[in-house]
Amino acid sequence: MATVTYDHASRIYPGTERPAVDQLNLHVEDGEFLVLVGPSGCGKSTSLRMLAGLEDVNAGRILIGDRDVTDVQPKDRDIAMVFQNYALYPHMSVADNMGFALKIAGKPKSEIRSRVEEAAKILDLTEYLDRKPKALSGGQRQRVAMGRAIVRNPQVFLMDEPLSNLDAKLRVQTRTQIASLTRRLEVTTVYVTHDQVEALTMGDRIAVLKDGVLQQVDTPRALYDSPKNVFVAGFIGSPAMNIGTFSVTNGVAKIGQAQIPLTRDAVAGLTAEDNGKVTLGFRPEALDIVPESDPSAIEIEVNIVEELGSDAYVYGTLKGDAAGADLASAGAGDHEVIVRINPRTAPAKGERIHVAIRPGQEHVFSPTTGLRLSSQ
């Protein structure tokens, strides 16, 4: 087991000006499950492949434990790319399918058997060891593939979108299995995905990347509650946060007639460049239905109600004085906001509702830098 450290690690592809990964500093603890997440082209897979030795590191270095592996060949790094190949061999038993790489490495039979048995115990495959893969379910086959990596006892597991080619059902099942297995094994794991839900459900910590630059690395809870900038705020969470830019007067932001008092910290963080404006974000569940007369009421016309059983979401457009304000959610259409409401009292399409941001649940950002201003 080992830690993983990216120390100002950069990857610059020949002929490009912007680094694919720009001065990445990241420390993964021993036994930690770290997820690299971000939109396509953010550098997450490149970062993982730099750790695997599949991409050159043009500046900075990468360490596994205390060992500088920047110039070490992939096969000498003591890492395992899990799920890289998991076609199972039909004529070989489950045990042989798991242990064949050890056999190639010339390990003695008794050692192979004991390592395979140990892995099988963890994977709940003990009773299948002498059977052929044909007899296994889809989920069990995934576990055999996982077993191939486990028996090698690597320092670090690397997984690059391992669920992307599974069907929806197997995806959720395998997601849970990987998460619980890696915890039980206490193997340091670096996992790449573009799916923030996958990231939130699996990671001990999540590193959010955009344009090759690390935006924030934190626990799922901290990322959700205190995104460090507008990008992370809009990227993490489903449905996505409502975000807009409004004018501020005397420490009060105005969305149409609605008055949103800002904390002193937040106001103090605004600068002349912000030009009397502030960027506000609030999650769909941070809104309450209020009477029209409430001074902080925002008027919304309901375009569609999405019923999910336990919850319902209103997708609506700002009306009244706020109409046309620059406010939207990345999860909705242009100029559309999302509001979580009680499904038992859901409004109808075309109805107008009034909502207010629950005090303290607004996220305040500088419109110039995009950085978080409120301290919570």
């Binding site: 592809y13 020949p14 002929g15 695997a52 030795g53 599949l54 991409e55 050159d56 060949q73 992939p74 096969k75 890289q84 190949n85 998991y86 076609a87 199972l88 061999y89 039909p90 004529h91 070989m92 042989d96 064949f100 790489a101 056999k103 190639i104 893969p133 044909k134 992307s164 080619n165 599974l166 069907d167 929806a168």
Partner: protein, 413 residues
């Protein structure tokens, strides 16, 4: 059928619409399937008859399907031996409206042989070596253009006969990536994974008693690494010599031609006082012989078949005493006077078993064999007749390996 199919294809065949897309691929009826041996795959793959040909259909996640389709198109465009993509179909639902997985469709490569059927046909004992050689050439070609495969294996490769050797084709690009240039890390990782996968696949054949249990599977895997490294360094290494040894430039080019590669760009540098010269090939293209044969005759064949045909063309030229004639004219006469009559002399029902160039190659081999046996120069027409009677009749049809029921063909599920 309330399906809302999206078909992405470069030249869509309307017959695609007649296939039962509302049924999970696993449950497709036998009457639409072609009985071809399936390789090992993590996905459900089926071979399907369509418009007189065969297509391969693979169920796979939507984004991965589009990605692989695009990659295969790029590979075809730059003439890398790979399967030809037909299209991607998404938006499939079954009769109850349940979503079904997207599919990637590729053309089945005619006359191609999966490694499993090559081994089960009990070919000559050095088959494994020749397959490994072919795979090493393919891997080097892919790496030269910056393609990282990510899952090199015998299962992800198809083989076609190429004179006395094989030519390898990439069939699965799911884990691949096209880069500007590969790093040594990417190359060694690909080669190392290839070694592991090949040994695993051969161990599986041993376990299934398709391969002799004394086979040294590890040595075969190691041979790939060795062959790859030899070829890579022959093609890319820098060479240094004294300024008075300039013949070595031509020698290097000859050597590359002999390996089947053309040199598109050769970097030559000299040191300041001009006493030593360094050369390093910068751009090399596979297909030296097949391009030359194509230019002379219009025949589009594989590299070693081309080499064989060119040799025959050379001996024809010598025998006809036409060394001073234009090569193009001689080639034209050889094509109409030797090659075409030979192929046409094979009865039509036997002719489709092998590609024409492969047939011609085997007839040449056979003529050499019987000539030696009978201690006389057996003329072509007689050689063809003997070849058809004594060799071809007993050969399986390799245009599309048939004869296996779909269930038996299924190796994975």
């Amino acid at each position: 059928m309330a399906q809302n199919l999206q078909i992405t294809a470069s030249s869509p065949d309307p017959a695609l619409l007649d296939l039962p897309w509302d049924i999970p691929l696993e449950d497709w009826p036998a009457e639409v399937l072609a009985a071809l041996p399936r390789g090992l795959s993590r996905h459900v793959v089926r071979f399907v008859r369509m418009s007189g040909g065969v297509i391969a259909v693979k169920e796979i996640g939507e984004s991965v399907a589009y990605r692989e389709y695009e990659l295969l198109r790029q590979l075809s465009r730059i003439n890398v031996p790979s399967v030809e993509p037909v299209g991607v179909i998404t938006g499939r639902t079954d009769k109850n409206g349940e979503r079904l997985e997207a599919v990637l469709i590729t053309k089945h490569l005619q006359f191609s042989l999966p490694y499993r059927s090559l081994f089960s046909q009990a070919l000559r004992p050095d088959t494994a070596t020749r397959l490994i050689d072919a795979l090493a050439v393919l891997l080097v070609r892919l790496h030269l253009i910056g393609f990282y495969w990510g899952d090199v294996s015998l299962s992800n490769t198809l083989f076609r006969r190429d004179a006395e050797t094989f030519a390898a084709y990439l069939v699965d690009a799911e884990t691949g990536d096209l880069h500007h240039k590969l790093s040594p890390g990417q190359r060694t990782y690909d080669v190392d994974l290839a070694r592991t996968n090949i040994i695993g696949e051969l161990m599986d054949l041993v376990a299934g008693e398709l391969l002799d249990e004394d086979t040294d599977t590890i040595a075969i895997g190691d041979a790939l690494v060795e062959r790859y490294n030899e070829l890579w360094s022959a093609l890319t290494d820098e060479e240094s010599f004294g300024a008075d040894e300039r013949w070595r430039v031509a020698a290097r080019i000859d050597r590359l031609n002999h390996l089947g590669f053309d040199v598109g760009e050769l970097e030559i540098t000299t040191d300041i006082d001009g006493t030593s010269v360094q050369i390093q090939p910068k751009v090399v293209d596979a297909g030296h012989h097949s391009r030359r044969l194509m230019r002379l005759t219009g025949l589009d064949v594989q590299e070693n078949q081309a080499r064989r045909l060119l040799n025959d063309l050379d001996s024809y030229r010598a025998a006809m005493d036409r060394q001073n004639d234009d090569e193009e004219f001689v080639a034209h006469d050889w094509l109409s006077g030797v090659f075409e009559p030979t192929v046409r002399a094979v009865p039509r029902d036997q002719r489709r078993k092998l590609e024409p160039a492969q047939l011609f190659h085997e007839v040449l081999d056979h003529r050499w064999f019987i000539s030696e046996q009978q201690k006389r120069d057996v003329p072509m027409p007689e050689a063809v007749e003997s070849y058809v009677e004594n060799v071809l009749r007993d050969r399986p049809d390799e245009m599309a390996i048939l004869g296996l029921p779909p269930d038996a063909a299924d190796q994975q599920e």
